[in-house]
């Protein structure tokens, strides 16, 4: 198996370079296993659950469906890049905690990135708009009620 690909890109505002990739590696694998950014989660690795949602040049994507090579020279933002500082939380992260929207938390990073994308496009979404925007993110613990509460709360901040 060839391990010869190099990837150069920007992640959470930092230029990053990583060598020795196998050609078939996904962006998700590179983030999690090679760059020490395990916040994007690997719940299905087939684009069905949204747990690995990241921004690729400002567009919301599932990192499991992006080949690492496709990220060459592009700008990636992950859940680790949303908080304004090391000891601070983004208001969306704060809202998820306050509303009780976190249980096992495996879906949480993807939902937070997806909510970030929704509120950037639509600062005051209706409930049907929230549901539509988050329909690609599976959660097995919460029944979504408190996630909806969190998004409504985040929209007020």
């Amino acid at each position: 198996m060839g391990l010869g690909v190099r990837l150069t890109c920007t992640i959470n505002g930092e230029p990053r370079e990583v060598d020795g990739l196998w050609e078939g590696e996904s962006l998700l694998h590179v983030l999690r296993e090679r760059l020490g950014l395990p916040g994007s989660k690997n719940a299905c690795e087939q684009g069905e659950c949204g747990s690995c949602s990241v921004y690729l040049d400002g567009e919301l994507v599932c990192a499991c469906l992006v080949l690492a090579g496709q990220a060459e020279a592009r700008d990636i933002v992950t859940v680790e890049g949303l908080a304004p500082g090391e000891d601070e939380l983004h208001p969306i992260q704060e809202a998820f905690l306050e509303a009780g929207a976190v249980q096992c938390g495996f879906c949480t990073p993807g939902l937070i990135v997806a909510t970030h994308d929704l509120l950037a496009r639509n600062a005051d979404p209706t409930d049907p708009e929230i549901r539509e925007a988050l329909a690609g993110n599976l959660c097995r613990c919460t029944g979504y009620e408190k996630i909806l509460d969190a998004v409504r709360l985040a929209a007020t901040r």
Binding site: M1, R32, C44, Q46, V79, L89, Q93, Q103, C104, A135
Partner: protein, 724 residues
């Protein structure tokens, strides 16, 4: 020393979870996020056939792949070659045959996950496919799949006059499909070989000590040389009670002398854990003309699949809760669980009570229609209460507020409907053919382990002074799987000791067992153990005298360990009689649905629920359990089923196995009752399972009300509604 003013963050408050900040930041270390220097990756070769004889295995082609460090089979296991929660009948790696599709045959360690998967595929296994036993109805008389035959357990309950007769009789046959727990964090863990010849395993599981004992037995190590620490758990719901990759990763680590990580993908996860038992149930209810139950007769058949897992306990639950939370003077119940070559089934939230609740609630609606009374009124007339007798002869000692729960859901105003059609935007209806229906259901089950099992939990509590301030450390082996157990342990320690600064240490096997995060038991059992340990700390403080806490502790920390055992329970006798359960938890649900009767599509408009939790230690977390449990019940009603054809799984992915999304899940209107159970710590009950039990039949009842269709099987399919 007395606690005068409990600090903030005690019991009864919606305290934030201590692992919340790392979880929202992406920093929380799940078992799939772990990493070690020089780590290898493990992969598993699984059987493509549901039943086959293994004629030969050639590992050569896999060993020849560059980057491969080990390729192992059952021959490399130094200890017990099988495992199992109740009966060790499941091979760690297949020996001379496979009994289900997906059974593990060989394992590989390599320097890259793709290399490991590729090498596993290179192993040449000569399999002679055999005709699988897939029909549970005929399995008992089929060729035996295990030495003791294919009947795994039969529970027979005879109560009152088993041949009683009644004026009104309704009967029906019901079926429940195979549901998957579908936790989001697939099976994963990291095994690290230790210098003493043992192994350290970091893994997501529900019961550390039972994993440890099984790993130690298979590796032929003393238990103390297998040290297990809980890795971050991405949901459980029963699917992590059995071993998955635990022995495999440890065996590879010991064999290679390197840390080995294993992480299943979603497809492998469907083959890597047990599922909810499919059930076929025949019921006959007899009643008086004024709606008093005279008898229930029931025959329940559960498909256990290839290995025992927790099937014998699921079978017992199905039998014990077969008639529902009603007073039934005469009952005759036979529940069977059988071996087949279908996927192994075991624990899932609700554990046997889910299947029978679907059937007994359908029967109650049918009986109400036959007699001509309101279905809620029929339930009220027959509702059990404190002091009622169960078909097992046991008395219900705790509050059993079935009537209160029914009143709560009945009295809820109908919601303001946000609108929308079944199927969402793509539905071209203008409302023609769309009918509304309302359905009700109530259910109950046991909390904790039953039938004489010595169920206990251990907690160690240490009170010290650090930086001039008191600090409480709580150490247990109890698995936080998302439910909020870490928060509850903190809250109890704060409440009991009056100290705000409480830390819950990582769960591991250096402290005694806490039992499983199952059976809605952990707040009751481990919460109770933390309470006992805190009381012992208080006793020591009192012994030291009076005065300021910091002075009393000084340089001599107080460190105590206590076990909490629940009241003993007893086995069922040959007629199914016995005081087998410690206590019960109850919930009721009302579902409102809109059904497109032409397309067979359902939109759930609202679920209203009432549940007695005894005491809500953390009200927000209680709501989260109730809402999340309802989503799984709704999933079973309308969409979730592992499709198994001739022993082969047809939908092992989230593309084809559908779980509810935020578009499928309606708002939940809930009421939480707090009727104390006098035998329980703080009077609490379990919370986790009741929401999943009666939500399914409530949704189905609502769809029946909208359509008039019989709907005797879940999940409901569109063609059941349309009638094609």
């Amino acid at each position: 020393m007395t606690v005068e003013a409990p600090p903030r963050g005690g019991i009864g408050e919606s305290v934030r979870r201590p692992d919340g900040i790392p979880k929202v930041k992406g920093d929380f270390a799940y078992s799939s996020d772990l990493w070690a220097d020089g780590m290898l990756w493990g992969a598993t070769l699984r059987s493509p056939h549901p039943r086959a004889r293994i004629k030969a295995i050639d590992l050569g082609p896999a060993l020849a792949v560059r980057g491969v460090h080990a390729v192992l089979t059952h021959e490399d296991l130094p200890g017990r070659k099988t495992y199992g929660l109740e009966i060790p009948d499941q091979p760690v790696l297949a020996i001379d045959q496979v009994r289900y599709q997906g059974e593990a045959i060989a394992i590989v360690a390599a320097d890259h996950p793709e290399t490991a998967r590729h090498a596993a595929a290179q192993i040449e296994v000569e399999l002679e496919p055999l005709t699988p036993v897939t029909d549970p109805e005929t399995a008992i008389d089929a060729e035996p799949l295990h030495p003791g035959g294919n009947l795994l357990r039969h529970v027979h309950i005879e109560h009152g006059d088993p041949e009683a007769t009644a004026d009104v009789v309704v009967s029906g046959e019901y079926e429940v499909g195979m549901q998957d727990q579908a936790f989001l964090g697939p099976e994963s863990g990291l095994a690290v070989p230790a210098e003493d010849g043992g192994v350290d395993l970091f893994v997501s599981t529900q019961w550390l000590h039972v994993d440890r004992d099984q790993v130690a037995a298979s590796l032929d190590l003393p238990p103390e040389k297998v040290r297990i620490t809980l890795g971050g758990v991405g949901g459980a719901f029963g699917a992590r009670e059995d071993l998955s990759m635990q022995v495999h990763a440890c065996l590879l680590a010991l064999h290679t002398g390197k840390p080995v990580k294993m992480m299943y993908g979603r497809e492998e996860s469907f083959f890597g854990h047990v599922h909810r038992h499919p059930a076929r149930m025949r019921y006959e209810h007899g009643a008086t003309r004024d709606g008093r139950l005279v008898y229930v007769r029931s025959r329940i058949l559960l498909d256990g699949g290839a290995y025992a897992s927790s099937s014998t306990a699921v079978c017992s639950n199905a039998a014990c809760f077969a008639v529902g939370p009603y007073e039934v003077p005469n009952a005759l119940i036979d529940a069977y669980v059988v071996y087949t070559d279908n996927p192994p089934c075991g624990a899932m939230r609700g554990f046997g009570a889910v299947q029978t609740c679907f059937a007994h609630e359908a029967q109650m609606d049918k009986l109400a229609a036959e007699i001509g009374i309101d279905p809620l009124e029929l339930r009220r007339r027959n509702a059990m209460s404190q002091g009622s007798s169960l078909p097992t002869g046991a008395t219900v000692r705790s509050p059993a507020p079935v009537r209160d729960l029914l009143a709560s859901i009945a009295n809820r105003p109908q919601p303001e409907d946000p609108g929308g059609f079944p199927g969402g935007h793509s539905n071209t209806t203008r409302g023609e053919g769309v009918r509304r229906g309302v359905g009700y259901a109530v259910g109950f089950k046991n909390v904790g382990y039953s039938e004489g099992f010595d169920d206990y939990s251990t907690a160690r509590v240490r009170l010290s002074v650090v930086g001039g301030e008191p600090l409480v450390e709580v150490h247990t082996a109890a698995a936080e799987v998302g439910q909020g157990l870490v928060t509850v342990q903190e809250q109890i320690a704060r409440h009991e000791l009056g100290v705000e600064r409480v830390i819950v240490l990582p769960a591991d096997t250096t402290v005694g067992s806490s039992g499983s995060s199952s059976a809605s038991r952990q707040t009751y059992m481990t919460g109770g153990a933390v309470k006992l340990a805190c009381e012992a700390v208080r006793d020591e403080l009192e012994r030291r005298g009076s005065g300021d806490l910091v002075d009393l502790v000084g340089d001599e920390p107080i460190d105590v360990t206590r076990e909490h055992h629940h009241r003993p329970t007893f086995p069922l006798d040959e007629k199914g009689q016995g005081d087998a359960h410690v206590t019960f938890a109850f919930a009721a649900h009302r579902a409102i649905v809109d059904v497109d009767t032409e397309l067979g599509l359902v939109r759930v408009v609202e679920i209203a629920t009432a549940q007695d939790v005894g005491k809500a230690i953390n009200p927000q977390a209680v709501e989260g359990q109730i809402e999340g449990g309802i989503a799984q019940g709704l999933g079973l009603a309308l969409m979730e089923e592992i499709q198994v054809v001739d022993g082969e799984v047809r939908n092992a992915s989230f593309t084809d196995y559908l779980i509810p999304t935020v578009l499928d899940m309606p708002p939940v209107a809930l009421e939480v009752l707090e009727l104390a159970d006098p035998g329980a710590p703080y009077g609490l009950r379990g919370v986790g399972e009741p929401p999943t039990i009666s939500s399914t039949p409530a949704v189905v009842a609502a769809v029946r009300a909208a359509t008039g269709a019989a709907l005797t099987r879940v999940p409901i399919r569109p063609d059941h509604i349309v009638g094609i």
